[in-house]
C-alpha cells in the first residue's frame, strides 16, 4: 500500500565501512534500499517521479515517491505527469531512474564525494544487456560506485526462503510483480533461466481491471474511483476463487453465500435535509392568506364592475337626455343640433341607446333575454321568411336571405342542444342500468366489465398498431430499400395505393385527363379519409367510459396504459444512501482471475498454473526424479500474489498438469513483498559476495559490453 509517510533520512551512514554493500531492490512499483546483512530495508518508496513547477518561485522541483497531496497546492502539475523509469519490467528511462536513485541514496544518508559502497541491485530475469549496461554506467559514472552486482529478485526471494527451510534446493518459484509474472525452476540451488517463463500480467493489470470495471458500473461516481482507492480495494477485498466457474454460478444464482461474500463501499453521503410536514397552524395561516388574496381580487372585480355600470348608466342617461331634447326640438333645428353630437340621425341615437342598454344588462349579469327572444315565434322574428319572393322588393329580398340564414343557424343550434340533452339522458339511463346490474351481482358485473375492458383495449391497440406501426415499418422499409409491392402495407396504405392506381388507369386511354372533371379531385378526399375513424372513436370513448367505471369500483384495477419499461430512467425519488454505494460482488474474484486467465483482459498468454507446466516442459534436460523434487517445492512470492485462496488454486491447477500421484507442494513465501530484498541483503553479506561483483576498473577496461556474459552464482 502506498504510504503517504515520507521516509526519513537515515543518520548512521558513516557507521558503515566502505566495504559494506548497499542493497537495492529495484522493483517496478517500489524501490527498497538498505544495508547488507540487515533484516529490513531502510528506505522504501514508490518508484515514481514527478517534476512540477513551484507556483511561487517558478522553479521546477523533483518529487520522488508518494507525497502528501495537501502540499500539491503549491505546485503546478499541469505540465508534468507521474513518471516511472520502467517500461514493463525493464528500466528504460535512465533520467527518471537517476532521480529515483538520487532520492534513495539521499534518504539513506549518503555523505562524502561519492557513494563508496559496493552495490547489489535486483533486475528482471533476462534483462536486456543495454538496460543493464546503462544502469551500470549510471552507477559508476554518476555515483562513483566501486563495484556492482546484479541479481534476479525472485531468485533472491527463493534463496531466502530456502534458508528459512520453507523450500528446498530444487524447486520452482512463481513470482508476480507490478507488470509481469515469472516462473522459473531451481536445480541444485541455481535458477535455470532456460526454463523461465514470463507472462506480461501483474498487479497493475488487476488494479486497472478493477478500476475500469467499477467506473463502467458506476459512471456517476467516477471521481471517487481513483487508482489509489482501487488499489486499496484490491488488497482488502479481492480473492482468488478455487473454482472460478462454480463461484460465478454462486453469484449468478444470487445465493445466500454470494450475498455474504458481497462487499459494499459506502461513499461519503449526507442525506438531504428532511422537509417537515407543515403544521396545522401553518396550513391555516396559508389558507387565510389565500382567502384574503381571493377576497381582494373579488373586491377589485366588483369595484370594476360597479364602475362600469356607473359609466354605462351615465352614457344611457346622456343619450336619453339627447333624445328628449330632440323631441322638444323643432324639425329644422335638428340637423344643426345633431352636427354638434357624434350622431347623424335620431335612428342612430336610438340604436346606440339599445346597444348601451344591452351591455348594461350584460354587465349587471341580468339573465340575457336573447334566448327569450329566440323563443318568440319565428314568424314574428323572421317575418319575411314566410312571404313568397315575388311579393318582395329587392331590398326586402336581401333582408329575407339574411333572415333565412339566421333562422337555419339558430334552428341547427337548438337541434344540437336537444341532441346533447338526449344523449345525457341516455347515458344516465345506462349508468342506472349498470348500477342495477351491479347491485344484483357485483362479482359477475365486475367480471364482465373487465372482460369488456380487455377486449376494447385490444381492439383499440390493434387498430393503433395497424395505423402507426404500419407506417413506421414502411418507413424503415424505405430506408432499407426493400419496400415491397404492397404486400407489407397496412390497410390504409393499401387503399390509398388502390385509389391511386385506379385514378391513373381507369380512364387513361393514352393521355392524362386527371383533373379535367371536378369529381377527380374527390379522390384526394377519399384518400386522406380514415375509413374506420368513426368506429375507432366510438370504441375509444367506450374504453374511456369502461376504464373510468372500473377505476371507480375496482380498487385493484390499474389501467395499463403504458407497458412497463425498464428503460425509464426518470427517477423522481431523492437519492438515498444506496445510490452512493459501490458494491463489490463478482469483481472480488473476477479481477485476480486474470492472473490465471490472461485472455480475459486480452493478453493472449498462459496463466500462472499453465506457466508452471510450460516451465516443466522447457526443463527437458533433467530426469523425472528431479522434476518431482522440483514440484514438491513450489514457492509463491511477489506483491501480486497475496490474494487469499491463491495457493490452493495454484496447487489445483498444477496438479492437473503434473503426472498422476506425483508429489506436489505449493507454499507461500514468508513475506512475498520483502523477501527479495532480504534475500539480496543476506547474499550481499556473505563473504564470497565480492567474487560476484563487477568493479569500476573492469568496466573502464572492457567497456559497456561487459554484462553480456555476466551471471552471478546464487548458491554461495
Amino acid at each position: 500500500m502506498p504510504s503517504i509517510n515520507r521516509p526519513l533520512r537515515q543518520s548512521d551512514y558513516n557507521r558503515f565501512s566502505s566495504a559494506t554493500p548497499i542493497v537495492i531492490d529495484n522493483g517496478g512499483s517500489n524501490f527498497r534500499i538498505g544495508w547488507a546483512g540487515e533484516s529490513d530495508p531502510r528506505v522504501i518508496f514508490r518508484s515514481t517521479v514527478q517534476r512540477p513547477r513551484h507556483r511561487a518561485t517558478g522553479e521546477t522541483v523533483t518529487i520522488v515517491g508518494d507525497h502528501d497531496t495537501a502540499l500539491m497546492k503549491y505546485f503546478d502539475c499541469t505540465r508534468s505527469s507521474s513518471r516511472s523509469p520502467f517500461d514493463s519490467n525493464v528500466v528504460y528511462q535512465f533520467e527518471t531512474m537517476e532521480y529515483v536513485l538520487d532520492y534513495g541514496f539521499e534518504r539513506l544518508g549518503a555523505q562524502g564525494m561519492e557513494v563508496d559502497h559496493p552495490i547489489l541491485m535486483t533486475e528482471c530475469p533476462c534483462n536486456p544487456v543495454s538496460s543493464r549496461s546503462k544502469m551500470a554506467e549510471l552507477l559508476f559514472e554518476a555515483y562513483g560506485v566501486p563495484s556492482i552486482a546484479f541479481g534476479v529478485d525472485a531468485a533472491f526471494s527463493y534463496k531466502f526462503n530456502q534458508q528459512l527451510g520453507i523450500c528446498d534446493e530444487d524447486g520452482l518459484v512463481v513470482c508476480s510483480g507490478l507488470t509481469t509474472s515469472h516462473v522459473f525452476p531451481f536445480v541444485n540451488g541455481e535458477p535455470v533461466f532456460d526454463a523461465c517463463c514470463r507472462t506480461n500480467i501483474g498487479g497493475y493489470h488487476v488494479t486497472d481491471y478493477l478500476k475500469q470495471l467499477l467506473s463502467l458500473k458506476y459512471p456517476q461516481h467516477l471521481s471517487n474511483i481513483t487508482w489509489e482507492k482501487a488499489e486499496d480495494m484490491k488488497m482488502e477485498h479481492c480473492y482468488v476463487a478455487y473454482d472460478y466457474g462454480s463461484e460465478l454460478e454462486l453469484f449468478q444464482k444470487r445465493t445466500k453465500e454470494a450475498e455474504e461474500k458481497t462487499r459494499c463501499w459506502q461513499l461519503p453521503w449526507v442525506p438531504p435535509p428532511q422537509e417537515e410536514a407543515p403544521t396545522e397552524e401553518e396550513l391555516a395561516r396559508k389558507a387565510a392568506l389565500k382567502e384574503k388574496q381571493g377576497q381582494r381580487l373579488r373586491d377589485m372585480a366588483a369595484a370594476k364592475k360597479s364602475g362600469r355600470i356607473l359609466e354605462l348608466e351615465n352614457e344611457l342617461q346622456g343619450l336619453e337626455d339627447l333624445l328628449q331634447e330632440l323631441d322638444e326640438m323643432e324639425e329644422h333645428e335638428m340637423p344643426s343640433f345633431l352636427s354638434g353630437t357624434a350622431y347623424s340621425s335620431r335612428l342612430e341615437i336610438e340604436s346606440a341607446v339599445q346597444k348601451v342598454a344591452q351591455s348594461l344588462r350584460k354587465v349587471r349579469g341580468d339573465p340575457s333575454d336573447s334566448e327569450e327572444r329566440v323563443d318568440i315565434s319565428s314568424a314574428e322574428k323572421y317575418p319575411l321568411t314566410g312571404i313568397p319572393d315575388e311579393m318582395l322588393t329587392p331590398d326586402q329580398l336581401k333582408e329575407k336571405k339574411r333572415q333565412m340564414f339566421i333562422k337555419t343557424m339558430s334552428e341547427g343550434r337548438s337541434r344540437a342542444k336537444q341532441k346533447r340533452v338526449e344523449e345525457e339522458l341516455l347515458k344516465e339511463k345506462q349508468n342506472l342500468q349498470d348500477e342495477e346490474r351491479r347491485s344484483e351481482n357485483p362479482e359477475l358485473y365486475l367480471e364482465t366489465l373487465r372482460a369488456k375492458h380487455k377486449e376494447l383495449t385490444e381492439k383499440v391497440e390493434q387498430r393503433k398498431r395497424l395505423k402507426t406501426n404500419g407506417s413506421k415499418t414502411n418507413g424503415t422499409q424505405n430506408l432499407n430499400g426493400s419496400g415491397g409491392r404492397g404486400e407489407r402495407l397496412n390497410a390504409a396504405q393499401r387503399e390509398r395505393m388502390r385509389l391511386l392506381t385506379t385514378a391513373a388507369f381507369d380512364r387513361g386511354k393514352g393521355e392524362d385527363t386527371f383533373g379535367a372533371r371536378d369529381e377527380d379531385w374527390q379522390l384526394y378526399k377519399l384518400m386522406s379519409k380514415d375509413n374506420d375513424d368513426d368506429e375507432d372513436e366510438e370504441d375509444e370513448a367506450e374504453l374511456v367510459r369502461v376504464t373510468s367505471r372500473l377505476q371507480d369500483i375496482d380498487p385493484t384495477f390499474i389501467a395499463a396504459l403504458q407497458p412497463p419499461s425498464f428503460l425509464q430512467p426518470a427517477r423522481a425519488t431523492p437519492p438515498t444512501a444506496e445510490d452512493f454505494q459501490i458494491v463489490l460482488g463478482v469483481e472480488r474474484f473476477r479481477c485476480p482471475e486474470i492472473l490465471f486467465q490472461p485472455p480475459m483482459v486480452g493478453i493472449d498468454q498462459a496463466g500462472l498454473d499453465e506457466m508452471v507446466g510450460i516451465s516443466f516442459r522447457r526443463l527437458d534436460f533433467v530426469d523425472d526424479a528431479t522434476k518431482d523434487r522440483i514440484s514438491n517445492s513450489i514457492l509463491v512470492t511477489g506483491g501480486s500474489l497475496l490474494f487469499p485462496g491463491l495457493v490452493p488454486r495454484l496447487e489445483a491447477g498444477v496438479r492437473m498438469i503434473r503426472p498422476y500421484l506425483s508429489p506436489l507442494k505449493v507454499v507461500r513465501a514468508s513475506d512475498p513483498i520483502l523477501d527479495a530484498w532480504r534475500g539480496a541483503a543476506a547474499y550481499a553479506a556473505a563473504s564470497q559476495f565480492s567474487t560476484q561483483t563487477f568493479s569500476r576498473e573492469d568496466y573502464y577496461e572492457r567497456g559497456e559490453d561487459w554484462p553480456r556474459g555476466y551471471h552471478i552464482k546464487y548458491a554461495l
Partner: protein
C-alpha cells in the same frame, strides 16, 4: 518555498554532494530534453541475442493451450451469447437489454477491457 514544503522534505535537493555529476550539469536547463531513451520494444529490437542463451524474448509464455473461456463483458458470468451488433458477450437476455441501450462509448470501453475494441489509427 513555503515552510511546510521545506519541512516535509518532499523536493529532491538540486545539488547532492555524493554525486560526481549533478543532474543540472548532465541535463542543462533550457536544452531540449527530447526523447533520449528507447522504449522496451526498441531496446529489444536493437539487442542482438546470442543463440544458446535464454533472453528476454525467448522466456515469454506462449498463448494458452486451452480455449479461452467466454465471460459476459458486463456481469462477468459465463456468456453463452454474443450480441452481433456490439460484439459484446452477454450472459442473459436481461444483460442484452442493458447493453442495447449502452452508448457506443461504453460499448467500446467494455470491448477495450479485453482488447477487442475498434482502434482507429
Amino acid at each position: 518555498m513555503e515552510p511546510e514544503v521545506v519541512s516535509s522534505e518532499m523536493a529532491l535537493p538540486a545539488v547532492l554532494p555524493f554525486k560526481r555529476v549533478q543532474m543540472s550539469d548532465k541535463y542543462p536547463k533550457g536544452q531540449s530534453r527530447g526523447r533520449h531513451w528507447k522504449h522496451l520494444k526498441q531496446i529489444l529490437q536493437a539487442e542482438n541475442f546470442p543463440e544458446n542463451e535464454p533472453n528476454y524474448l525467448s522466456i515469454e509464455s506462449p498463448p494458452s493451450m486451452y480455449p479461452s473461456k467466454k465471460f459476459c463483458d458486463v456481469t462477468g458470468f459465463k456468456a453463452p451469447y454474443v450480441d452481433p451488433r456490439t460484439n459484446l458477450r452477454y450472459a442473459s437476455p436481461d444483460v442484452l437489454k442493458c447493453i442495447r441501450v449502452l452508448p457506443n462509448e461504453y460499448v467500446q470501453r467494455y470491448l477495450s477491457l479485453r482488447n477487442a475494441a475498434i482502434v482507429l489509427k
